[in-house]
Amino acid sequence: MSGGATSTDAPPPPPARRRSVWLAALLLVTAAVLLFSPLVGSIDIPPFRVLEIVLSGGGAFFNPCAGAGPVCGREVIAVWQGRVPEVLLAVVAGAALGISGGALQGIFRNPLADPYLLGISTGGTLGAAFVFVLNVGVTDADLVLPLLAFTGSVLTGLAILAVARGRYGSVETLLLTGVALNAFLSSILTIVLLYNPVGSIQVTFWLLGGLGGASWTRDGIAFGGILVAGSLIAIYGREVNLLQLGNDVAQSAGVDARAVRTRILLLASLATAVAVAFTGVIGFVGLAAPHVVRRVAGSDYRIVLPGAAVVGAAFLVAARDGSYVFSYLAVGGGTVLPIGIFTSLAGAPFFFLLLFRRRRLTTMGAS
């Protein structure tokens, strides 16, 4: 097996050389976005000062404030304890959502599947909501939160899987099940919040999505979770390729389709849960990232899965920067625009583009 399995919805794979150029460009863009990102925040800190602070490791290697005024000490805290962890959390969460989206689209052979649309993110949010609303484990929120978010995400994923594996598990049924589950879980979430107006203040943060909860500790926990889940998902690239050819072909090639789907769904739920637990519900990253990679590098899931992680990371970091710029242009800066709002602002047009493009391809195929 060459690993070049082609989804029926995907464009033909580009030539290998062009593919390499695009992949290199993607990595360069990602690196550039990462380097640029700490310069962007809610207040103006001189770019050279930011670079000095980052290069000094927050003052660990040398004093970036030598000869500077007293405000520099606060700028060090703002950059090293605020912006850098925030950017790193965007990288980790974006990678998690990107690879989860790629994996879900692969195992369901559905280009519209992503953790947000299928309700997996909402399930995670519901789990996280219980921490605040029921005051469960608030003191150990860094650990309990991901655990409950994971439970919520996995249960949602299993419910979808049960439908997808059933007699009526067509693509349409799957999508509608996800949409219905999303609505159902959102309603439960609303009821839970109404019962506890105080808890709802914190949960609103999860519903809108944000990177404000970033810290080195949380980044570390999230990174650990994503490293494990993401690596395991990426290992299944060949199997996901075979699943694109249908269960029978996959079975004949020695792939236990049912077992692979279950494992990947659980891993994707874990990755989503880690992202949701620390950033809340952030839509469209999981949908958009795999599509970008497929457009650039073809439909080989051995490339799509890690590629979606890279693009997801770049997308979320760029969205973070964009939300600050948007906030500055809209209200003059100093304030916060929850990042989930901005990813949806940018992601919704992409979604429309995707729909219209699919329609055009379908029309062309029919003529």
């Binding site: 606060r74 703002a78 605020g82 107006p197 944000g210 909860g213 100093g334």
Partner: protein
């Protein structure tokens, strides 16, 4: 041949008579509707005896009974004025959430419930939805509401149930005095209203005097952040044009959100960190306390929290536009920002 054959849908109907009956019935219904509407508007625009017509804060002209004995109050800020004017005995119902969602305690602090002698039996549910029928149970003659009740709900109360609704939502601090005067007029307690307004003017004048002293002495105003809620992104606070911001100005302090373009902005953590206000006031009550705020970004890095200048204050003092805001909230803020007095 079938005996139960249904008539064809294209077959002609019963002749002439039914059409005439239908036309007459239509005319009768239309006549009743027109007459009913005319009577409704005629009675609505004519003030009955023992009533007076007032203009509320939204510019609505409302005909209300004089000194109504059974009043439903749908806002804690209005309840505050009623209590201070000695009109507590007129109040038969107050706003609340559904019992499962907190009941009275969702909108009134435990201190207010005790002071005003409120009970769950007075509950008129406004959230998640308005229970307008409760107003009928209370035989309410007048409803006093603020904009926490939607326009649609006001319409339902006044049009469907025929109970006049006066909206009291002062746009500025001086509007509080106007509302006190209006209540004095409706309930015939003009003297009490004048006395209360005099107290309010003394409170405002005292704050103005402090401000003048500080300005004359060249004493800089402290920079402050007054927050009523936080989350992991930052601090929710008051922007220009809000009561919170007006209070801060009157208390001779400069809010770090004074230049915001939003009325209720959420300042980013790093914005607060770099602004580093001299004082930080956080709203308490309704489940919020110091612990709730300590998880806000950079909380422990702020000079105010390190120097003991982070002070909790009853949220009602900061958010409810009522006499208590001026008589208790303003002095409390001044005491925080200027602990040594005016010098």
């Amino acid at each position: 041949m079938s005996l139960n054959r249904e008539p064809s849908p294209l077959a002609p109907g019963p002749k002439g008579v039914s059409l005439a009956v239908f036309a007459v019935a239509l005319l009768v219904v239309a006549g009743i509707a027109v007459a009913g509407t005319a009577v409704y508007y005629a009675t609505r625009t004519t003030a009955p005896a023992g009533s007076l017509t007032v203009t509320d804060d939204l510019g609505r002209t409302v005909t209300v009974p004089r000194d109504p004995a059974r009043v439903v109050v749908l806002s804690p800020s209005i309840m505050d004025s009623m209590y201070r004017l000695g009109l507590r005995s007129h109040v038969v119902g107050v706003d609340c959430y559904a019992p499962a969602f907190g009941g009275l305690t969702a909108d009134y602090s435990s201190d207010q419930i005790a002071l005003w002698n409120l009970s769950q039996s007075m509950c008129v549910q406004i959230a998640p939805t308005l229970n307008a029928e409760a107003l009928l149970n209370d035989s309410a003659q007048l409803v006093l509401a603020s904009t926490i009740v939607s326009v649609a709900d006001v319409e339902e109360i006044s049009t469907t149930y025929g109970i006049p609704v006066v909206m009291l939502q002062p746009p500025t601090l001086s509007g509080i005095e106007i509302d006190v005067t209006l209540l004095g007029t409706i309930f015939g307690v003009g003297t009490a209203a004048s006395q209360l307004n005099a107290e309010l003017q003394v409170g405002l004048a005292s704050a103005a005097s402090l401000q003048a002293n500080l300005t004359d002495n060249g004493t800089p105003f402290p920079t402050v952040l007054v927050t009523y809620s936080t989350d992991e992104n930052g601090y929710w606070t008051f922007g220009p044009g809000t009561f919170g911001e007006s209070l801060i100005e009157l208390a001779s302090a400069t809010s770090i959100s004074a230049n915001s373009t939003l009325p209720y902005p959420e300042l980013a953590g790093e914005t607060v960190l770099i602004a580093n206000p001299d004082y930080l006031v956080y709203g308490t009550g309704f489940g919020l306390n110091l612990t709730s705020y300590q998880s806000a970004p950079f909380w422990s890095d702020l000079s105010a929290t390190q120097d003991g200048h982070a002070i909790g204050l009853d949220s009602n003092f900061l958010t409810e536009p009522d006499p208590t805001m001026i008589l208790e909230g303003l002095p409390a803020l001044i005491a925080v920002f200027h602990p040594s007095g005016s010098t």
